[in-house]
Subunit: 197 residues, 2 copies
Amino acid sequence: MGVVTDPARGPKQDRSRATRQRLLEAAVSCLADRGWAGSTVAVVAERAGVSRGAAQHHFPTREDLFTAAVEYVAEERSHALRTLPVRTRPETVAALVDLYTGPLFRAALHLWVAASDEPQLRDRVTELEARVGRETHRIAVDLLAADESRPGVRETVQGLLDMARGLGLANLLTDDTARRERVVVEWGRIVEEALKR
Amino acid sequence: MGVVTDPARGPKQDRSRATRQRLLEAAVSCLADRGWAGSTVAVVAERAGVSRGAAQHHFPTREDLFTAAVEYVAEERSHALRTLPVRTRPETVAALVDLYTGPLFRAALHLWVAASDEPQLRDRVTELEARVGRETHRIAVDLLAADESRPGVRETVQGLLDMARGLGLANLLTDDTARRERVVVEWGRIVEEALKR
């Protein structure tokens, strides 16, 4: 009895879960590195060290795999953000902007742009984007201690997240870190002022 | 003598110029509608009503055509922005955001995302993006009457343009106009305050 398992879930289910997770992580890194055109179930299965049959068992279509992947990593990211220690507003602005400059944003961007041209992706990605966007907005409101019952506060937070998305885009082709850090310092102050009024 | 021409440029040069312009405009609308994968010189030539040979005479490679197209439309846009009548800062914020929500932004976005995966495009698009970005920044500083010698002003304008870019991205899959207009009203106020300090 060397293996301890959840009595409701045998080692087989645990393995299946681990395989699924490996596939999702490989799918995001593949999308970020190679774009939609270079991302197929076969390429991801190989990257994850999983057989193509096993990959197709978990995700019957390419669209299933890549929308699930972006959703999975967005959830991980939301969870990480929610469990950050309480911090100042300028620090929160910096943490929110960080969400949009890593491999997840690159992967999501490739998925959005592909979805704008491919009808079979469009509805799913639109729905996913709306859901992830609402969740990120809720987290931002909490972390910034923003009172949305006051006029303009909701739009202040929305514009901040739009700015974070634009900073992510500016980081796509070149390392924009130095410029971004200066913008984030100034906008940390601006958001602090705007929310105090 | 029914045709009046610039003495330095005969009717042949004028026709060549008009053909070039038709190709550039067709290239931008093709990139915006069909993405990089669906955009070839042949498809654009057909859309422009120009022979493939003539198209290749003007633009030997696909990369030549599409980078020239995005640059051409960006220049037209900068010119239009520069010749706007003087307006208030909140109106200027709205006009700047409008730059990022039309077909040019969609075309540029497809080109950026393709460039992030394709080495033969990457350097050219990076250089183009830097040039267009600097020009847009200069125009924004002028229109907003922003004094960049004061600390934080440069970053305030940069962050505003990042926000505009993020708002363009939010408009990619769905019509985000109603939400965007509310964000723009509020951020018009916030930028006005920030530049007054």
